[in-house]
Structure formats: structure tokens, C-alpha cells
Amino acid sequence: MPLQTSSDIDARPIKLSCNGIWKIFGDGGAQLLKQTNNAPQENDLIERSLIAAVRDASIEVREGEIFIIMGLSGSGKSTMVRCLSRLIEPTAGEVLFEGQDLLKANPKELIQIRRHKMGMVFQHFALLPHLTVLGNVAFPLEIQGIKRREREDRALEVIELVGLKGRETYYPRELSGGQQQRVGIARSLAVEPDIWFLDEPFSALDPLIRREMQDEFLRLQKMLQKTIVFITHDFDEAIRLADHIAIMKDGAVIQIGTPEQLVLNPATEYVAEFTNGIPRAKVLSVGSVMEPVMEPGGNDYSGRVFADIRLEELGGDILHADKPFAVIDRNDQIIGQVTRDVVLEVLVGSSSQSDT
């Protein structure tokens, strides 16, 4: 469930953005980019046995939103997020974090930014095997030179927050996968980061636990309101969590939009492929299927619904009502109406409507 409307988010300041990012693995990538004016041909790359993992990618992440980068395995998601955090040096392009060019930061500044403003959760947890849960969670604070007492107090707080109270003295290998990732999450939150990177945090978990962790994640986000860059190759996960989704293919970002926009207007066949299998009721909002009000002034409605809730959340009411529902915006103004037939069409015809 979106915590805010997309128009709401679009009004917020940009927290992190990147512009024309390239990452080419192999020697001579930068040279090639310069020669070809940032538009190398495919056979140029092959000839020099270079791999362009990220190609001319640009995204904007606004404050407090969950921005999801989606794509199949090998499409360059991890490389992209590592360019954003500068774990990998992009071959070209710029990364702006809170207005500052991250690529121009010197090593000292970078360390300071990472210590205080960034948190990251990894696919395979990346816990330090020789430290207990407490030690792991307190580690980023220890690196900053914070006194033992203080950092352990703070660590205990976040450990409780992720529901691992009582396991402080356990070692990572004594925990289940889900618990280990909770430690990973707690650890990345310990420094209260401004931006939170998660690289397929739940991919290594089995489906039931994954679901549980997604709920947990949403619960945390409701409390903390972090700016989040979240990577996944699972579209279901993406639409559950996302405010915005960027779809990547072969290193390029091919579409950015809200889940709804992607489902309604997929930019390419490739995006459509992703969205096909998705039950539309989960994605579409009432506003996107409403029709104009037929008889102005006529208030013969079974009830009222907000335009920005998803059809899925309407529940059974509308199916039993014979009169339409009024659709209202957040200012209580009626902006349209939905009928049972429309909703039924979406629900029944859901995933077979492959042609858009």
C-alpha cells in the first residue's frame, strides 16, 4: 500500500540522482566513451572485449520514497547501485547526493558520507562471522570511534526494532537466513542513514520468509521514512513496495514510473512481459479506472472511495452494490465514479489483457 500518492512524492526534493552513468568493465572503457562521445556501438565493445554493465542510466530518487530498480539477472542492477554509492567508480556520468557531486568527493569526504549518511543491505547478508549479533550491529558505530557503551546501547535499540531482542550474543551462523538478514537490516540502520541501499535483500530467502520480511520492511519504513533504493528481480516484490520503479535491461534504464504507469503504459514489449503476469487489481488505483460522472449533481452512490487506493483494497462491497461508487480526492471532492462492471472487468480479465 503506498504511503502517499505519487503526485505527493513528485513534489518532494530530490535526494539522490544520477545522470548518464556508464560503467564499462575492462581496459580502455573510458577511452572508448570519449572517442565515441558516450555512444559506443555494440561491436566496438565486443571488439575490445568490454562489458558495459550500465549504459547511460539516469534516475532521480526523491526524499522518503522507495525507489526500486528492477531487471533480470545480469541486467546491471547491482552495478548501478554500486555506482550510486560509489563502491564502483562509474566510467562516466555524475551522481548527485543531496546536491553534492559524489564522484568529486575525496576519499576522506566519502568515508564521512558513508559513515553517517548511507546504509546498505546485501543479498547474502555480508555479516562478519567473528562478531556476535551485537558486535555486527554496533560495527559501523565502532568504525566511527563511538565508545563501547554508547554504541552498544544504540545497537540494542535497533536490534529490538527488527525483532531480534534476546539474540544479541548469537553468532551469525547460529541464526536462520531471515534472522541473519534482520541483523543486516539492523546494522545498516544503526547509523541512522539518510539513504538506504538494499541489493536484493530478500532474494536469498524462501518465499514465506520473504513475504514476512517485506511486511517487516514496510513496517519499518512507515516508522522511519527513509529514502530507499531497493533492488529486486521480482516484479511482485517491486509492486508491493515501490513508489517508483526503474526497469533495467542490458545495462540501460528503459522505463521509470509508478507501478501503475508501468502496467498501464509499458514502454516496450520487455516491460509488458514483466507486467503481464501481475493481477491488475494489485496495481491499478481506483482513479485509473474511474469514469466521468454521468449526471452532475446526482448523488445516487453506494459509497465513496479515494481515488488513490488500489482496486484490490476495495474489497467485496463494490461487487454487491448495484449503484456506482463515488471517487473522491483527498479534499473530498468527487472527481469520478466506478461501477461494478468496470471493476469486474479488471478483476476477471486481469492478466489475460496482454494487448494494451
Partner: protein, 657 residues
């Protein structure tokens, strides 16, 4: 007609015929049979001159090179003297016989108690019993003093080797350029026989424990460097990324993330350093390390078999104790929650126990001297027993033993030696190059042919051929015994377990120890060297065969069984061909070990490159020693590269990874 042979077969036919024709050219081209003296490349003199210049004239600006080596000596000597006083000599004041003991050494009881504690900490009471049993032997059989001298060297050498190895490994991990620089050096150091670098060290640092220690550290460090490089590169990429994201600076990343994550793998390296140090400390008794190695050497020189065997046994037991203890420490299970202890005594049980034992035994020792030093009256000796046994064997079985020895020598060894020595060197160089060409292409051909050629230009050809002959024959026999044993071990679980213990033990023993019982039966000469090399080098042949056969994919065996193959057919047609690349790697290891052992067998009077190195050592001629040492290394590298190339080619053909 030609279609029945591949082009390589034809090429080999032509080359071998040319080689035969070459034999008849002895009068026309005598230089091909005996490398002329005037053509010898004077490398060894250049090296000697260079070392002399280093020592006498090289000025580093602020200080001379000599002062530099002195400073290093002093740095190593100080802690060494301290540990040695603590364990062996006691602290004294004054010179020579006027010295008075200020404070006694640690009592033997305290040392044994401490060993028990380490054993218990590292694993369990069983290990504690084993290790302390070994140490008790040292006390009871009068080997304590020498053993403690040896142990002191190890206590100093191991931390130096470990820390140095980790530091170099870390530098290599951080800088690809540095890594590319050290890798060939590491390769070379593993193949240059240890004696070869004993000589320059001896000249630079003088005869004595410091030289021995430096040689030991240099010898034991390369595996630690390798293991560090490997262990660090095996730390999962995500963990490194996490460290960077947490904002670690370079130092924090190393000490708080990389090294702790790599610790289990690094500990395996520590075990290796301990074992290699022990091996080298024993060998380094030739340049003044003292201790157990010196006892063996002394006994060897004077042919006091009984004493030698006792000291050898002491080395063996010390090796077993150190190996099992360090392995136990390396494999200690990772901690579990709730196992952390907060108070001081709980966190430092060893320091406290050690101090406790030391002061307690010292106090009691004031009243009861037996607590301080194991009473001489209670010492046992088996020396006379061994001496008698050998005498008895030699009197009663002289004919059989000697007959066997002569039969092998006359029918097998001497003909091979004559044959190899009669080959003209350009032909051998050519054949080696051709083999390289076939197995790995031009670069390998150039490398192998070039190295063989250099050996000739150094004027060491005949000695190199003797090395090849001794090494080759021993490896053939080691393979002929080792491969079948390995096969049996692979096919029979119980036999496998027995063999495992035997092979483990063989690999723990310092090379020196092997000489003792062999010399006592066969006296000095090529034959003794031959047997010693076989026994020393057989372990990898067994181990790799065992492993290779076990790794044959089960579905292939199933398929073969299904096709109705008999067990023999499965062995010959399926298991062996598929395991062959791995078995060859084992043979490769066997060759490497054989070469390193050959240099040590120079002590029992062979006339190969090893002898050349040994003579150089006694004459402190660094050029001669290094030239001969390099030649041994070249032989090792040629064998290594050829076998690896073959094995890689074969594996690719079989589609194994």
C-alpha cells in the same frame, strides 16, 4: 603409410634418430659430450664478487650494508637469547665458565603442564595427552636441552614468518603490480633448495643461530604469503563492500574486516609455517642453529647410530606434537553464543596459568631440584639398544642387505646413470624443448630449453644429470609403489584410513630424520640417497592418486558397470584414465620433494648438484652454491611446467574442470 602416425610421432621419430646419429659424432664434436671449460659462463664468480662487495663496500648512505646486517642480527638475536634462556639455558651473568645463573630456566614440569593446557584448549584431553606424552619423552630420554633450543628457534621464527607472510600477502592483495612481482619469486623460492640460500645468508650474517633463524623465516614464509593472498581474495566480495560502506578506512578494513574474516584460512597457514620452520631449524643446524638437528648431524658424521636415532625420534615426536597442536588451534570450532567470558582471568587463562606454573615449579624447585631439571639418574636411553640392533642386523643380515643393495645398484642404477651421462647435452636440450613445444607451445619450449641450456653453460651438466638420474629413478619407484597404494586406498575405506595416518606422519617429519635409519642399514652412497628420497617423496603420489580416483564422477562408474565392465576393466578403462591428470600432479609434487630431499642426501655422499651446494656451504662460496641451487631449481621448474602443461591439456580433453 604416413596416415598411421600423427605429425608429432613423426617429429619424435626424426628427433630420436638424429640423437642416435649424434652419438657417432663424438670425434667430430666433442664439445657436445663434454661441455668445454672455457665456455663456462662465470656466473658463480660474479655472484661471489657481488656478495663480497655487498659485505665490504656497499654503503647505503647513512650506514653500510654490514651495519645493516648487524642491526638485523641484533634485532633477532635479542628475543632469541631471551627465549632460549627462558627455556633452555637459564639467565646468566658473566662470561663463559665464570657465568653465574641469575635465574633458572622454566622447569620441565611447567613446560609439560603448559603443553597439556594448550592441548586441552585447542581440542580435548586426548590431544593434551598426546602432546604432553611427546614432551615427556624428551625429558625422560635426555633430549630436553636440545629440544628446548630447537623450540626456542621455532618460537621466534614462527611469529616472524607468520607476520612477515601476512604483511607481504596483504601488500600483494592490495597492489596487483606487487603481486605480479612476488609470484615468480615465490615460485622460485619453493624450488630453490634450501641449502642454496643458506650460503649467502651464512656469509652475510655469520655462522650461528641468527643465520639459521633468517634462513628458517625465509624458508617458511612463502606458503604464508600464498595462503594470505588466497585467504584474502576468498573473503566474499559483499563483506568487503560492507566494510567500505560502513566507512572503514584502509587500516580498519584490513584489521577489522579482512583479516578476521579470513582468519580460519590464515590459521592453516600458521600450521604450515610451524612445520616448515621445524624442518628448516633442523637443517639449519648446519649453520649453527644447534639443538636436535645438531645432534642428528653430529651422530651422522660420527656414525653414532644409536644417538642419532634417539635424536631423530625426538625430532619426530616434537614434530608430531607441534603439528597436532597447531592443527588443533587452527581447527578450533568457532565460538558459540554465551561462550564469552568477561573477567580478566577468564580471558587470559594461559598467561595466568603459565605464570602460575612457572612460579610454583620454581619455588618447589628451590627445595627439590628434580622439579627444576629432570634428574639425570632417571633418564633412560635407547642408544645402546639401537646400536646393538644395527650391529646385530649388520652381522646377521649383511649378505642379504648388501646383496640387495648391489643388485639394485649394478643392474638398475649404474646403467641409468651411465646412459644419462653419455647423452650429448645439445640433444637433451633439444628434446626438452621439443617436449615443451608439443605440450605447451613456443613459450614453454623456450623456457624449458633455455633453462636446460643455462645449466650446461654453468658447467654443471654432469652433476645435473646425476641429479636427474637419482631423482628420476626415485620418482619412478615412488610412483610404482605410491600409485597402487593410492588406488587401494581409494577403493577400500579401511585401508584408506590407515594410509591417511601413515602419509600424514610421513609429511610431518623433517627431511633430516629419514637419513638416520637408512644410513644405518645401507651406509653412505647413492643407494642410501635413493631410498631416502623414495621414502620422503612417496606421500604425494599416494595422496593425489587416492584423491583423483575418488573424484571420478560416480555416474561414469555406473555407466561402465551397466555396460558390463568387470571391476578391473572399470579401474583400467575408466577410473585411471580420468584420474590421470590428478595423479600426474601428485607425481609433480613427488618430483619437487625428491629434488629438495636430494640436496639433503648430499650429506650421505652423492655426487650431484646437492653435493655441489653442500661443498659450497662448507666453503662459504656463495656463487657456487647459488649457481648449483639455481640449476636444481631449473630442473624442478622444467619438470613442473611440463607436467602441468600435460595435465592441463589432458584435463581439457577430458572435459574436467
Amino acid at each position: 603409410m604416413t596416415s598411421r602416425f600423427t605429425s608429432w610421432q613423426i617429429a619424435w621419430g626424426v628427433a630420436l634418430s638424429l640423437a642416435v646419429v649424434g652419438f657417432f659424432l663424438k670425434d667430430i664434436a666433442p664439445w657436445a659430450f663434454k661441455y668445454p671449460r672455457d665456455w663456462v659462463f662465470p656466473l658463480r664468480f660474479w655472484i661471489s664478487d657481488f656478495v663480497k662487495w655487498l659485505l665490504n663496500d656497499f654503503d647505503l648512505g647513512l650506514f653500510t650494508f654490514k651495519e645493516f646486517t648487524r642491526a638485523i642480527s641484533w634485532l633477532i638475536e635479542l628475543p632469541y637469547i631471551f627465549v632460549r634462556s627462558l627455556l633452555s639455558d637459564g639467565f646468566r651473568e658473566g662470561q663463559g665458565s665464570n657465568a653465574i645463573q641469575v635465574f633458572p630456566r622454566v622447569s620441565w614440569i611447567a613446560v609439560i603442564l603448559f603443553v597439556i593446557m594448550i592441548g586441552r584448549y585447542a581440542r580435548d584431553w586426548k590431544l593434551a595427552a598426546l602432546a604432553s606424552g611427546c614432551f615427556t619423552y624428551l625429558a625422560v630420554f635426555g633430549q630436553w636441552d636440545s629440544a628446548m633450543v630447537t623450540l626456542s628457534s621455532i618460537i621466534i621464527a614462527v611469529p616472524l614468518g607468520v607476520v612477515g607472510g601476512i604483511m607481504i600477502g596483504v601488500l600483494g592483495y592490495r597492489s596487483a603490480t606487487f603481486k605480479a612481482m612476488i609470484m615468480p619469486v615465490l615460485d622460485l623460492m619453493q624450488t630453490v633448495p634450501v641449502f642454496a640460500y643458506l650460503v649467502p645468508i651464512l656469509i652475510l650474517f655469520g655462522f650461528g643461530p641468527v643465520s639459521a633463524m633468517i634462513a628458517t623465516v625465509i624458508y617458511a614464509m612463502p606458503p604464508m604469503v600464498r595462503i594470505t593472498l588466497l585467504a584474502l581474495s576468498q573473503v566474499p566480495e559483499e563483506i568487503v563492500e560492507f566494510g567500505r560502506m560502513a566507512g572503514c578506512n584502509t587500516r580498519q578494513l584490513l584489521w577489522k574486516v579482512l583479516i578476521p574474516s579470513a582468519k580460519p584460512a590464515l590459521m592453516i597457514g600458521v600450521n604450515q609455517v610451524v612445520m616448515l620452520s621445524l624442518n628448516m631449524v633442523i637443517i639449519a643446524s648446519m649453520i649453527g642453529a644447534g639443538g636436535l638437528g645438531f645432534d642428528v648431524l653430529n651422530a651422522l658424521k660420527r656414525l653414532r647410530i644409536g644417538e642419532g636415532i634417539e635424536a631423530g625420534l625426538a625430532i619426530t615426536l616434537l614434530a608430531i606434537a607441534l603439528d597436532r597442536l597447531s592443527q588443533g588451534l587452527a581447527n578450533r570450532p568457532p565460538p558459540e553464543h554465551g561462550s564469552e567470558v568477561k573477567n580478566f582471568a577468564g580471558r587470559h587463562p594461559f598467561a595466568i596459568a603459565a605464570l602460575g606454573f612457572m612460579s610454583l615449579t620454581w619455588l618447589i624447585g628451590l627445595v627439590l631440584p628434580a622439579f627444576q631439571t629432570y634428574p639425570e639418574g632417571l633418564e633412560l636411553t635407547t642408544g645402546t639398544f639401537w646400536g646393538d640392533t644395527v650391529r646385530w642386523l649388520n652381522i646377521n643380515y649383511f649378505d642379504q642387505i648388501d646383496g640387495f643393495k648391489n643388485a639394485v645398484l649394478l643392474n638398475f642404477m649404474i646403467p641409468t646413470k651411465r646412459f644419462l651421462l653419455s647423452l650429448p647435452w645439445p640433444v637433451v636440450v633439444g628434446l626438452v624443448a621439443m617436449l615443451g613445444l608439443q605440450l605447451g607451445g613456443w613459450r614453454l619450449a623456450l623456457l624449458c630449453g633455455g633453462m636446460a641450456f643455462v645449466i650446461a653453460t654453468l658447467g654443471l651438466w654432469p652433476k645435473a644429470m646425476i641429479t636427474v638420474y637419482l631423482c628420476g629413478l626415485s620418482v619412478i619407484i615412488a610412483a610404482a609403489i605410491g600409485i597402487p597404494v593410492g588406488i587401494m586406498a581409494a577403493l577400500n575405506e579401511r585401508f584408506h584410513r590407515v594410509i591417511q595416518v601413515v602419509v600424514d606422519t610421513l609429511q610431518t617429519l623433517p627431511s633430516f630424520v629419514y637419513l638416520m635409519p637408512i644410513v644405518m642399514l645401507f651406509r653412505v652412497g647413492d643407494f642410501s640417497a635413493f631410498i631416502a628420497v623414495i621414502v620422503y617423496a612417496i606421500a604425494p603420489a599416494i595422496r593425489y592418486t587416492d584423491h583423483g580416483i575418488r573424484r571420478v564422477p560416480p555416474h561414469l562408474i555406473e555407466a561402465a558397470t551397466q555396460m558390463g565392465c568387470s571391476p578391473w576393466q572399470i579401474l583400467w578403462r575408466v577410473r585411471l584414465p580420468i584420474a590421470m591428470p590428478e595423479i600426474m600432479l601428485g607425481i609433480n609434487q613427488t618430483i619437487m620433494m625428491a629434488l629438495s630431499m636430494l640436496v639433503i642426501t648430499a650429506l650421505v655422499g652423492t655426487r650431484d648438484l646437492g653435493q655441489e651446494v653442500y661443498i659450497a656451504l662448507t666453503k662459504a662460496d656463495s656463487g657456487r652454491g647459488l649457481a648449483a641451487g639455481m640449476s636444481v631449481a631449473f630442473i624442478a621448474i622444467i619438470a613442473d611446467r611440463l607436467i602441468n602443461a600435460w595435465s592441463a591439456k589432458r584435463k581439457a580433453e577430458l572435459g574436467l574442470d
